[in-house]
């Protein structure tokens, strides 16, 4: 992906992440960027839903039972 596109995508993503300080921007983001931003927020929510479904249900027992012998 060309770096200009990547930068744009990173910027868009930053704007969607609550924990990130929004970058001081000199101009209003274009309509296209806002829409894409909303789509990405949905995407994050969808992925978190998916993680909820994917995570082993018996997390406590599962994690407790994961014991390895040292290797190397």
């Amino acid at each position: 992906m060309p770096s200009s596109e990547r930068k744009q995508e990173e910027k868009t993503r930053e704007e969607t992440q609550e924990e990130q300080k929004p970058e001081a921007s000199e101009q209003e983001p274009s309509q296209g960027v806002i829409e894409e931003g909303e789509a990405l927020t949905d995407d994050i929510d969808k992925l978190l839903d998916e993680i909820d479904e994917l995570l082993e249900e018996d997390a406590e027992e599962f994690v407790e039972n994961y014991i390895q012998r040292g290797g190397e």
Partner: protein, 508 residues
């Protein structure tokens, strides 16, 4: 410019079987490795005569080498792959070693191919298990309870560098490299200071600066001096501090930057200018500093942060790569690595969260935080430990990293097609080409293999060993036409013997 680094990565995978109270990691690892084995290569063994893991780079033999397995068990625990790599049972883990590669991009490709091999093995092995039993493989380095297993990198370096030069030049680099090479971990282990989340899976396990052991009292610089090549010319730089990475981009930077710093060391461009006062303590403190900017004490009453140390190495590398553009056969990749390295360091200095699709620890941290916020969890909640573990699950539909990758949320370096191709095809530009191609072409006539030898078993003759002491030889360019021409191993051996410089396969 110093020679391109021949390099490889060996990964021990975590293993468990669901719904199996009697789970035995050795038996399960053996089942997994054997399930993958090609029927025609079932009896090929590993040539242990070429192994000397107790030889110390400081110039002595630590203890006599242990017993080697007999041929029957040797064939059961070893699988020499047609891609030139090795797949075997190491203690209680399945381990995959990439073939020898000449550049970071190839190494990422073969590392990822290994994950697919492991995943395919499990699906095949499960057909032999009770219905409910499920094999789960993790590409991580710790069980969260103080047991660690490794992801080791190997770089072939010039014997002319004094060992102490390697220690001085590489220790500060390796201690601080984790800021872009770490895979992230919830909690602390091995008696280290408690923490919610840290950058490295492995940092808590390092207890000494230099040593031979990889299992106890782990050293930052490992002295295993087993080059699997002409030992007069080369030594092996065996890196054991690294994390196993899920992110291709993280692996790419980890091995690419390390290779170029080693080349600079060989050319005298870097030396001992960043020597840390206490490298062992710094391993842990860097892993706990998510800003990457807390000062570390250097020799000579100086202070620099992990980020500043890395910036210094990167700036030197940028000049070095430009100055040597004409003589580096892999310049395009080396230059790309060094440029991305600079970009990543800039982002880390600005706001590490900018790297949440690029660098493993940041990707993991971002999703752990989002999940934690959604459910209002404490950092020591089991669901976060579960998410941490499942990030490393190699199953494409269940592993969290793989789900993120499928959703386009992480940065890739190589194409999936290239990864699939690398499962059954060796790299073209190292002796792995000779090894892999011989295994493909003459499977019934190979008795044993190692990194630096192939032993042929041709009907009516005693076993014949072809030494491969030079990893830069045995390439497609050198032996491709010869291999194509020969219809049997006997023909190949006769042709090698008849050649006046019979060393193209890898040397005498």
């Amino acid at each position: 410019m110093a020679q391109p680094k021949i390099m490889g990565v060996e990964t021990e995978y975590g293993i468990m079987v669901r719904h199996a109270a009697d789970f035995d990691p050795v038996a399960s690892s053996t089942l997994v490795v054997n399930s993958y084995k090609d029927r025609e290569l079932r009896s090929v063994v590993w040539d242990y005569e070429e192994e000397s893991p107790h030889l110390d780079a400081r110039g002595f033999q630590a203890d006599p080498s242990g017993p080697t397995p007999d041929d029957a068990s040797n064939a059961v625990i070893n699988d020499i792959l047609v891609n030139g790599g090795r797949y075997y049972v190491d203690h209680a883990h399945p381990e995959y070693c990439t073939p020898e590669c000449t550049n970071a991009r190839d190494l990422v490709t073969y590392d990822r191919a290994g994950e697919l091999i492991l995943d395919m093995s499990c699906r095949m092995a499960e057909q032999l298990l009770d219905n409910r039993r499920e094999l789960i493989i993790y590409k991580n380095n710790s069980d969260g309870k103080g047991h660690s297993y490794g992801c080791h990198e190997n770089y072939l370096v010039d014997r002319a560098i004094p060992f102490q030069g390697l220690v001085d030049g590489m220790t500060p680099f390796l201690v601080t490299r984790q800021i872009f090479a770490g895979s992230g971990k919830t909690g602390a282990e091995n008696g280290a200071e408690g923490v919610d989340f840290q950058i490295s899976q492995r940092a808590d396990f390092f207890e000494t600066e230099v040593g031979l052991s990889t299992m106890v009292d782990r050293p930052i610089i490992n002295t295993r001096d087993e080059p699997h090549a002409d030992e007069k010319q080369y030594r092996r730089f065996h890196v054991i501090v690294g994390d196993a990475n899920m992110s291709e981009f993280t692996t790419y930077l980890k091995v690419g930057t390390t290779a170029v710093v080693l080349q600079m060391l060989e050319d005298g461009v870097v030396g001992g200018e960043f020597r840390l006062r206490d490298p062992v303590a710094a391993m842990r403190s860097v892993s706990r500093d998510l800003t990457c900017s807390e000062p570390l004490r250097l020799e000579g009453a100086r202070e620099m942060s992990a980020l500043e140390i890395q910036r210094s190495y990167q700036r030197l590398a940028a000049e070095y790569v430009t100055a040597n553009a004409a003589t580096d056969p892999y310049h395009e990749i080396t230059a790309d690595v060094v440029q991305k390295w600079g970009e990543v360091l800039d982002a880390l200095g600005d706001d590490p969260m900018k790297l949440q699709r690029d660098i493993d620890w940041v990707i993991k941290y971002a999703w752990l935080r989002a999940y934690r916020d959604r459910h209002g969890l404490a950092w020591d909640d089991h669901r976060l430990s579960m998410l941490d573990l499942q990030y490393h699950d190699i199953r494409p539909n269940v592993g969290i990293f793989h789900r993120l990758q499928k959703a386009g949320r992480v940065r890739r370096v190589v194409s999936q097609d290239a990864v699939i191709h690398a499962i059954t095809n060796p790299p073209l530009d190292t002796r792995a080409f000779f090894r892999g191609t011989c295994l493909k072409r003459f499977p019934g006539e190979i008795h044993a293999a190692s990194w630096n030898s192939l032993i042929f078993d041709v009907e009516g003759k005693s076993l014949q060993k072809v030494p491969m002491q030079y990893p830069q030889r045995g390439t497609r360019e050198m032996v491709g036409a010869l291999l194509q021409k020969c219809n049997s191993a006997a023909e190949l051996l006769a042709a090698i013997e008849a050649k006046p410089n019979a060393d193209d396969a890898g040397g005498r």
